[in-house]
Point group: C2
Chain length 195, copies 2
C-alpha cells in the first residue's frame, strides 16, 4: 500500500519540500511512499520546485484509510481531513506537539530547530542515503523560507549549518538563490486583495 | 537549573533505568540533569540497580516549576502530578502518543521499538558519547525487562541487536543475567496478597 507523506494545510515551502524530500528518502529505503499536498502551491514554493525540476505533489482532500507520514506539523486541525481515522506511521516536525494522538506506537522525530528540512538532513545521514543535488536544493529552499534567509528568531545554529551543507550539494548560493526565491514569493503583482 | 529526567508512575525497570541512563548522557553533554522516580522501585529493578552499582533515583511527587525530560512515557496521566504546569524539554519513548501537549517546540524521539533503552543506545552513538559498563548493564536490564528476555511480541530486531551490543559492553550474558533479574522480580515470597 502506498504511504502518503504530507505537510500541513495552506502549505508553505517547508511543507511541500519536506513531503517530497522525505518521500524520496523513504523510497530509497524501500518504502512505497508518495508526497501529497493539502492546498495550493504558493509562488515562492513554485519557484523552488521549478528551479530544482520538481512537479507539485498531488493534491489530496481526505485521508480515507490511508497510511500517513506527517511532516512540518502534527496538530490534527492543521492536517488532512479525516486524519482521526487514518493510521499515522511517522511524524517529522519542528513545532510544539498538541492535538495529536495515535492508537499505536509510531516513529516521531520532533526537534526544536527552525525547519523540518534540517531534521531531514540528519535522517539522510543516519540512514546513509546520498542526497541528490535537486533534493538538496529543495531542502535548502525550505530552510531559507522558514528562516527568512536566516533572519528569523526561530533559526538555529543547526539550520545555518544544514543550509551550508545543502548549498554545496545543490550547487547554488543560499544568499543569491534565497533572495530570488523570497522575491518570487513576494511578487505583489499576483496577489489578490485578500492576501 | 536542574533538569529532571523521569519515567512513568508505577515505574518498571525501563522507566528507572532509562531515567538514570539518559540523565547520565545529558550530563556528559553538559546539562545539569538528574534522574527522579515517581514510585517504589520494584524487586526486579532493585536487582538491576544493585548488580550495576546504582542507587535508586530520588522520589519526587509533584512537578512544581521544574523543567522535565520524560522517558518511557508521554501520556500526562502516567506522568508526574502537576505536569501541565511544567516545561517539558524532551521526550524519549516507545509508546503511542496521546494525552500529551506542549506550549513550545521540544525534542521528541519516539520509535516503535520494544524499549526506551534501545532508543537511548542510538542517542549515545549520535552524540558520540561512550557508554560505561554499568550504564550498559542498566540499559540491557531495561531491554530484558520490557522484552521478557526477547520473548515479548513487542520485541523488535533493533532491541535484540541493541541487547547484543550492550551485553558486550556490560560484560554479562543477557541470558544468564536476564534470568536472574526476572527471577528476582518474580520472587513470590516477598509479594503481598494484593500483588
Ligand atoms: Mn510550515
Ligand atoms: Mn517548517
Ligand atoms: Mn515502562
Ligand atoms: Mn519501556
Amino acid at each position: 500500500m502506498t504511504i502518503f507523506v504530507t505537510g500541513h494545510k495552506n502549505p508553505d515551502t517547508d511543507s511541500i519540500s519536506s513531503a517530497i524530500v522525505y518521500a524520496y528518502l523513504k523510497q530509497q529505503l524501500g518504502m512505497d511512499a508518495q508526497a501529497i499536498r493539502l492546498g495550493e502551491v504558493q509562488d515562492e514554493t513554485a519557484f523552488a520546485l521549478s528551479t530544482f525540476g520538481f512537479e507539485a505533489p498531488q493534491f489530496v482532500e481526505k485521508a480515507g484509510e490511508a497510511e500517513l507520514i506527517l511532516v512540518d506539523h502534527n496538530e490534527f486541525q492543521q492536517s488532512i481531513d479525516g486524519i482521526e481515522d487514518a493510521r499515522i506511521l511517522e511524524v517529522v516536525d519542528h513545532h510544539r506537539v498538541a492535538n495529536f494522538e495515535t492508537a499505536d506506537p509510531l516513529y516521531m522525530r520532533v526537534e526544536p530547530v527552525g525547519c523540518t528540512a534540517t531534521i531531514l538532513l540528519k535522517l539522510f545521514k543516519e540512514n546513509n542515503v546520498e542526497i541528490p543535488a535537486n533534493i538538496a536544493g529543495l531542502m535548502l529552499s525550505a530552510i531559507i523560507s522558514d528562516s527568512l534567509l536566516f533572519k528569523s528568531p526561530t533559526c538555529t545554529e543547526q539550520d545555518i549549518a544544514a543550509a551550508k551543507e545543502l548549498e554545496t550539494i545543490a550547487g547554488v548560493s543560499a544568499q543569491e538563490y534565497g533572495l530570488d526565491m523570497l522575491k518570487a514569493g513576494a511578487d505583489l503583482s499576483k496577489k489578490t486583495l485578500e492576501e
